[in-house]
């Protein structure tokens, strides 16, 4: 069964690792982490994602640029992640995937 591919972006390396670990605990999901907007754009160009999670550390302009590129041009749901790999993560993903 094809896994749900999730691109998680967060400039805080420790939090990014936590987000990846929590997402990958779900056997139906696979998380790829990007530490900044440039890595996120490169990954989005080379791999198909089902969902984008924008974590902390990007500027408002970078968040807007990512949303614009990924949501508008690739029709990928973009979710602003709050809490840093916390108890909110699964709810955010379920909610975003149910709205696809």
């Amino acid at each position: 069964m094809k896994k749900i591919e999730i691109l998680a972006i967060c400039t805080h390396e420790g939090i990014l690792q936590t987000i990846n670990r929590l997402i990958n605990n779900n056997e139906l999901w696979n998380s790829t982490g990007a530490i900044d907007i440039n890595e996120a754009k490169e990954l989005a160009d080379t791999k198909d994602f089902d969902l984008i999670l924008i974590g902390s550390g990007l500027t408002a302009a970078e968040e807007q640029e990512l949303e614009s590129i990924l949501a508008a041009h690739k029709n990928i749901p973009v979710v602003k992640h709050y809490g840093g790999g916390s108890g909110l993560l699964f709810g955010e993903i379920y909610q975003a995937l149910s709205g696809r």
């Binding site: 902390s56 709050y82 809490g83 840093g84 916390s86 909110l88 709810g91 379920y94």
Partner: protein
């Protein structure tokens, strides 16, 4: 116009991790209910009981205003900003996670459980500089609400990055009071810590929650009661 929703205590998401028992008013962790995601910017209301000597080890957060209110017992707090503190009943703790923090919260007592509320609000601005605050709250005067949180650094209680106000109060049976919103665009989530209470005609029991959008709340204690009111913006 008045809109309200009642979350009865028994309908909360119950989690039992052995050392931690938590009742989630809103979706959290493995508890997911699409109809229980938030009340305005109030995203988490966890009613936690932690066994003696146990706690939450070092873990990260970002972009969330995190408030802890001990109800029984003491918590030992440490964080990546260098703060080390004990939070006791009668105090309130606020953290702005902002760009990212690590923290731990442990039960100070080796044997007796600690009970506390963990409340998370979406911030009104992402990626703020992380900060920590802790103050004593005085709710000894009965039959009135006491402000314990606001958006203003110079106001009573802790302050956070959100247009929110929290009030707590202890009431004698039969006491009645009103609560006027600080911002008419906000809503109020009332959480009954103990006793039976009627708010705008709706009967509530211990650990029930009621989200309400109204200009004024009329609060009547049907028995001796303790109440937490969380006034929050309804839009992120």
């Amino acid at each position: 116009m008045e809109n309200f929703i009642i979350h009865k205590a028994a309908t909360r998401g119950m989690a039992d991790h052995g050392w931690l028992k938590s009742a989630h008013s809103f979706s959290f962790g493995s508890y997911y209910n699409a109809d229980r995601m938030n009340f305005g910017v109030l995203r988490v209301l966890n009613d936690d009981t932690v066994d003696g000597g146990r706690g939450f080890g070092d873990h990260p957060h970002d972009n969330m205003e995190i408030i802890s209110i001990p109800l029984e017992g003491d918590l030992v707090h440490k964080d990546s900003m260098g703060n080390e503190a004990i939070i006791r009943k009668g105090e309130i703790q606020a953290m702005s996670a902002g760009t990212g923090i690590y923290h731990s919260e442990f039960n100070k007592d080796g044997s007796a459980p600690v009970k506390f509320l963990q409340i998370w609000l979406y911030p009104n601005k992402r990626n703020v500089t992380p900060r920590y605050d802790q103050v004593k709250i005085d709710t000894t005067e009965k039959n009135v609400f006491h402000q314990v949180l606001s958006p203003n650094a110079n106001d009573a209680g802790v302050w956070i990055h959100q247009n929110a106000w929290f009030n707590m109060g202890k009431f004698d049976a039969g006491a009645e009071t009103t609560y006027q919103l600080n911002d008419k665009k906000n809503g109020v989530y009332a959480f009954i810590l103990s006793g039976n209470v009627t708010i705008n005609g709706q009967a509530l029991e211990p650990r029930d929650g009621m989200g309400i959008v109204a200009d004024t709340l009329t609060v009547k204690a049907d028995t001796e009661a303790e109440i937490l009111l969380m006034e929050v913006p309804m839009e992120l």
